[in-house]
């Protein structure tokens, strides 16, 4: 019954050397995916919205719809 002596040391180090690069890599991928999947489209959507935004026109439309308390629709 002469089995080889099992590994007694360096177990945590071995695990970290394997898993930490993977963890960092996956985190980086997640961050990049979020940036280009969510934040960049959102910034673009806001930029595009305000490029063609006429505040006065929107205000008048809302006024006519009757959602304000301080200004009444032009009919009344």
């Amino acid at each position: 019954m002469s089995l080889p002596k099992p590994l007694m040391r360096g177990l945590l180090g071995k695990r970290l050397r394997f898993h930490l690069p993977i963890a960092f890599g996956l985190s980086l991928v997640a961050a990049i995916a979020f940036k280009y999947g969510v934040t960049e489209p959102r910034k673009k959507a806001y930029a595009d919205f305000y490029k063609q935004y006429d505040a006065v026109k929107e205000f008048n439309a809302m006024k006519e719809a009757g959602v304000f308390e301080s200004v009444q629709p032009s009919g009344e």
Binding site: R42, A45, Y46, M62, V67
Partner: protein, 182 residues
């Protein structure tokens, strides 16, 4: 099964107790003997003493399974003190059975207990449904008017008028020129 085991242990424990000459223990066993025997409940197990149990995570319980050995078993125990190569296989198994009640294979036998558990879960979930139904009929207040279809339609229109979330959300999905959803 467990009750039988506990009774066995209690029987052994109380006989161990009777063997010791200390005053407190004999008076307690005398007290127990004077009670009328109750068919359901035997003497309480003394949990301050080491106990035996079959558990997957406890390979070596606090004490051996059999405390009182017959003469044959005692001689086997004496033989165990010598070289084990002189024990036959049957003797080895007998020694094992002296120390342990069930093997791991026997402990791991599949049981049907899960069916009872799942059945009980379903039963009580069903009962809860009946309780909720009764509450719906007898306890709940009248439905708020804000749930009516007409009110909901007016609410949606007001949200569009106020331009709720016009960039990426609600109002961004509405085409204001054509008056319809995009």
């Amino acid at each position: 099964m467990l009750k039988m085991m506990l009774q066995l242990i209690a029987g052994r424990v109380s006989s161990l107790v009777a063997r010791r000459a200390t005053l407190a223990l004999t008076t307690s066993s005398a007290r127990m003997a004077s009670h009328a025997p109750d068919p359901e409940v035997t003497e309480a197990v003394d949990m301050s003493r080491p106990m035996y149990w079959d558990r997957l995570d406890t390979p070596l319980p606090d004490k051996l399974y059999k405390d009182e050995l017959s003469a044959a078993e005692k001689s086997l125990k004496e033989k165990e003190k010598g070289p084990w190569s002189q024990l036959t296989n049957e003797e080895k198994i007998a020694l094992y059975r002296l120390s342990f009640h069930q093997t791991y294979a026997e402990m791991n036998q599949p049981k049907s207990e899960w069916k009872t558990v799942v059945g009980g879960i379903f039963f009580f979930v069903g009962f809860t449904a009946l309780v909720v139904w009764w509450q719906r009929v007898y306890v709940y207040p009248p439905r708020p008017r804000t749930f009516d279809d007409e009110w909901q339609a007016k609410q949606l229109q007001r949200m569009l008028d106020m331009r709720i979330n016009p960039i990426e959300g609600f109002s961004s999905k509405w085409d204001y020129e054509k008056g319809q959803w995009k």
